[in-house]
Amino acid sequence: MSDMNNVRPVIKAGEIVVSNVSKSYGGAQFNKEVVKDCSFTIERAKLTVMIGPSGCGKSTLIRLLAGFEKPSSGTITLDGKPVDGPGRDRLVLFQESALFPWMTTYENILYGPRARGEVTRETIDLAEFLLNKVGLQDFRNKYPTQLSGGMQRRAELARAMINNPQVMILDEPFRGLDAMTKELMWEYYSAIYEENRRTNFFVTTDIDEAIFLADRILIMSNVPAQVRAVLEVKVPRPRKLLDLVENDQSNDIKMQALSILHEEAMKSFSRGSKAAADFVDAYSKRVARS
């Protein structure tokens, strides 16, 4: 275990700049603009959380950042170089597990290095290190369906990290986990982030999740997606779950975020959107709680 530290690769954190990006689907007649003139920066070595009502175009933005799709207009750059197609420098953790079901945990983690023909002594050591890191050393030969939801998410984190991406993109990764597991995953994930300070971009609809994890919070408007507000979270790390309730700054940010989100929700509520109705509902619950 002593040489584990030598195993860790040098982290090269990247910075993504999104400027004036628009994305629309459909032909001229049924054109739907999902992202409109959207600009923001995913700052280097920071954990940026994007929060917005469901269906606001967050997932579309992720596909653009990952390079699975191209913006209709505007540019996305990573450290000054334009993003052109998918690449190992920007890895995505999807909403639900996208582990390959026909591979064991270990094979899944080693997927990237094998794909690039980079299986060396060092990558094997790194795979071991990551297996330990995410606490799955006893599950290395299990298939994804044999893992719990939380384990699957951890295995996927390891599968992404072994490729040493410059930016990690996470699309509501803890959605669908039960409340306990979810909170454990927050602690797990932020510990990993605090340790290596990679650039992370995390998308969620959960305000508590955002405040617990984020260095910066981007609050999105309703569709078409635009950044409504940027909030800095300066609660010291490592954070505790209790901070969410007891820390004044957390509470301030929460109220601030909720009022902006509420405005957005009301705006689209008047337009009759289902997502907005959900949001107003969630909002009233939050206010009642605090």
């Binding site: 690449g87 995505v92 026909w102 490729n163």
Partner: protein, 291 residues
Amino acid sequence: MAAGTKRFFGSKTWRGAISLVVFLLIWEIGSLSKIWIKWESFEWLRQMLTAFGLKPIYLPWIGAVPAPTEVLMAWTHIIGDASYWQSWYISLLRVISGFIAAMIVGIPFGLLLAVSRTAYGIGFPVFEVLRPIPPLAWVPASIIFWPTQELSIGFVIFLGAIFTIVINVVGGARSIDLRYFQAARSMGSSQWDIFRRIILPGTLPSIVVGCEVGMGITWNVVVAAEMISGGGSQVGGTSGGGLGFFIWNSYVGGSYEQVVIGMISIGIAGYVSSELLRALGKRVTPWLHLR
């Protein structure tokens, strides 16, 4: 081993055994009914029907079928007969070779249709026109096309399996989660790597299902192909011409017990080959059969 033994004597086995016994019992009783019920005592019914201008009707009594005990007796007579086992062997050989040919052609063809839009555009319409044609309809054409009778029979069997295999492969490959491709591409996979490590294993469960269903169809087809093609006794040294021919020949010869023996033999052969294929399928897709 303990688990295997337990499962063998589990409720599933018992239910199977009971259903089999009940089936044989009903068959036996039905068959004996021809002794109990004498049609002669219903002469008045026959006369009445004739009086009304109707032809005398004969109910399809199961009594016309030999009883399981009679079949079993007949079986003990031929169980030592080399030509009976030769029939098994020849049918098995035909099924396996036709089936393997269908796999060799069908799996790559299905994968090609799934991965290439061009191939799909060119290949699929023809495939869809040929697909509904029943393999039996191919028998005459097959006899004309192919130089030897064995090839004709093999071709009909091949046709029986290939369409099911191809349809399953195409459907399976197309239903692979898009995110797997995105994840693989992000991590630096080449096209070939994606094919080998995503498409192939992702399609494997459907390949297995296609083969299982296809195997069942091959047995349906082999019998008819053998009956119509007429024996093929030139293949083996003995007079055996496959189980299908065995049935036809027994029927022509008026040995109804042997007809039933032939039917049951095919049932068993089909069941065994399906089970073998299922076991093989489980081996190649271990991630689907956990716990």
